[in-house]
Subunit: 121 residues, 2 copies
């Protein structure tokens, strides 16, 4: 695309919906839920800076399901920035032992990304 | 679109996010996915009339996860109207044998509603 008059990024902004699943580690549900009622403000700010919006996490017994929307022009770059954020790194250190990944291979991400089978706007 | 002076409902419109889980019946995944790539237009129209928006269904192996938003002033009334829609009733008749409910008691709904444990706008 050619150069745009206003914000050069605005015309490349896209919406991406991402859903994932992970298990709760045995005996850690209560602590996980408590921490998620008051997520550290720095962590929330980093998510917003990474253009993540409408982010919900749901629980069904020992399984967590996440749904979020990314509105930006470079999802991979935003995720890389998030992974370098110090508060986010500390948060993930606290979260890691509370979760049990369901990935099929060692190369899969920590949260398993789900296949969208239907969408209605 | 914007709040209309004459519309008494507009100021009571609220957003409700609903997530649910259900299992796929053994051997029915392929058919379920195929039908969801081309959901009947009458079914989509009925969902929209019931003020359901941003509705996605995701799959993880044999489990389906749904996320949807209801924007209206009477969720229960909209769900009751939806349940009376003939096309929706026919669709549900087709879907029912493809799904296996995970409800804990006979009084629970067909899709098990999930507990929200985190949300960031």
């Amino acid at each position: 695309m050619g150069a745009d008059v206003g914000d050069p990024r605005s015309d490349r902004t896209t919406l991406r919906r991402i859903a994932g699943v992970i298990a709760l580690a045995d005996g850690r549900a209560e602590e996980y839920l408590r921490l998620h009622r008051e997520v550290w403000p720095e962590v929330l700010a980093a998510l917003s800076r990474a253009n993540i919006t409408n982010y919900s996490i749901y629980r069904h017994d020992g399984v967590l399901f996440s749904y979020l929307e990314h509105r930006g022009d470079d999802y991979e770059a935003d995720m890389a920035s998030l992974a370098e954020d110090p508060a986010t790194q500390r948060w993930w250190e606290v979260m890691t032992p509370m979760q049990r990944t369901l990935r099929a291979t060692p190369d899969d991400p920590w949260w398993t990304e789900l296949e969208e089978v239907f969408h209605l706007d």
